[in-house]
Symmetry: C2
Subunit: 235 residues, 2 copies
């Protein structure tokens, strides 16, 4: 009972802050009276939502759970482009080549809203504010991508990891959750592939942070005792 209520509340929160909200709340229904969103698509842990290189048929918004957006890297491994939290949109990058540029994989059981591409197109054509919203979303992702890129290229491993934890805490806070203590949805390898370092380095740096008393990390549970120290990490 408690779990159900909690899940409903989490969804409500997700919709309130959803990146695709303007699409769901278009002033006028679509011509053929179809619902904008085919909701309730559920994914199990490890399930692939869409794969890099395949034709894009929809865009998505995360209602509950977490996903990773990853690009395959020649040779071995992958590059984790970004982690998707509830309210985040995915699949917008496919507007360009009409092919998905990344692969989206569920990190745990989750639920996503699916908006077929022709609906997006029709909504954008009919409502300028929807089109403008999509531009804003894309531009925001672009600016963020380059900001992360800039950091990656010039910052040390501890600084990257500190930034990662703070970023996650911030996104958590945006969604109305405790930003000092949370559970990591991803494993060490995925963190490493996101930051461009190795699992061993992730582990070593975390123990260093722990030794400084800045964080408590046990498995995937994280508590940030001193975010300022992390922010102030030199170099």
């Amino acid at each position: 009972m408690v779990a159900r209520a909690s899940l409903a509340k989490r969804r409500q929160l997700a919709c309130a802050g959803c990146a695709l909200r303007p699409l769901c709340h278009a002033p006028v229904p679509l011509p053929d009276a179809q619902p904008v969103v085919d909701c309730r698509r559920r994914l199990e842990r490890g399930e692939v939502l869409f794969e890099a290189g395949t034709p894009q048929s929809s865009v998505f918004a995360v209602r509950a759970g977490f996903l990773k957006l990853a690009a395959p890297v020649e040779g071995s491994g992958e590059h984790v482009v970004r982690f998707l939290l509830p309210g985040d949109a995915a699949g917008l990058e496919g507007f360009g080549a009409r092919l998905h540029a990344f692969t989206a994989v569920a990190l745990d059981d989750c639920e996503v809203c699916e908006v077929p591409l022709q609906h997006v197109r029709r909504l954008a054509d009919a409502f300028p504010n929807v089109a403008a919203h999509l531009r804003r979303l894309l531009a925001g992702e672009l600016a963020e991508a380059h900001a992360r890129f800039a950091g990656m290229a010039h910052l040390s491993a501890p600084k990257r990891l500190a930034g990662f934890l703070l970023d996650l805490a911030g996104r958590w806070a945006e969604r109305g959750y405790a930003s000092r203590a949370f559970r990591l949805p991803m494993d060490r390898r995925e963190i490493a592939d996101h930051l461009g370092i190795t699992v061993e380095t992730v582990s070593r740096v975390l123990t260093e942070f722990r030794a400084q008393g800045w964080v408590t990390v046990k498995g995937r549970e994280v508590i940030l005792h001193d975010p300022e120290a992390l922010r102030a990490y030199p170099r």
Copy 2:
């Protein structure tokens, strides 16, 4: 005389392949009969077109010359996000926060077309294909940013530099110029800040490539003798 003809031709080429072409060639003029583009804005070497953090008032397309798009990095230095060649668009990333995310600086004397933001907005609202084109541009840049990001994180310095030279050659070829011999519009520091390495490493790797007989590099003049060898560089 020869110079003038050459300049005119270069502009024609730039317009033919311009990323903002659909805006200039809207089927119907704007209501108030204003020209879409305030062209002929000229920049001297080192001049700033727009600065990160300032409000965005226009988007731009490069007609002639070269610019760099850079993000300031906390501490020291900057991260060069991308180099702009004739035909490239700039300033689209400001759609998000309505602030420029990067700084654009002319690398040499150049000429850009300026499209005021309200014109962009009106064109996008009036013509769905213009809106769709803007989405495609943004999505393309986003996919490219992440692709570069993925490469950066996992590749060695020589591989990065090899990729950089090949990328530049390719973009040169796209514009109808010789792709085997060209002049670098940027200095070593800017290359280094683009690739996330130091100037010294850039220099060392270039001498290594030279020693292998793969390239001739003298100052900013570059000749690629063996692009395949660069492409095949291990790791």
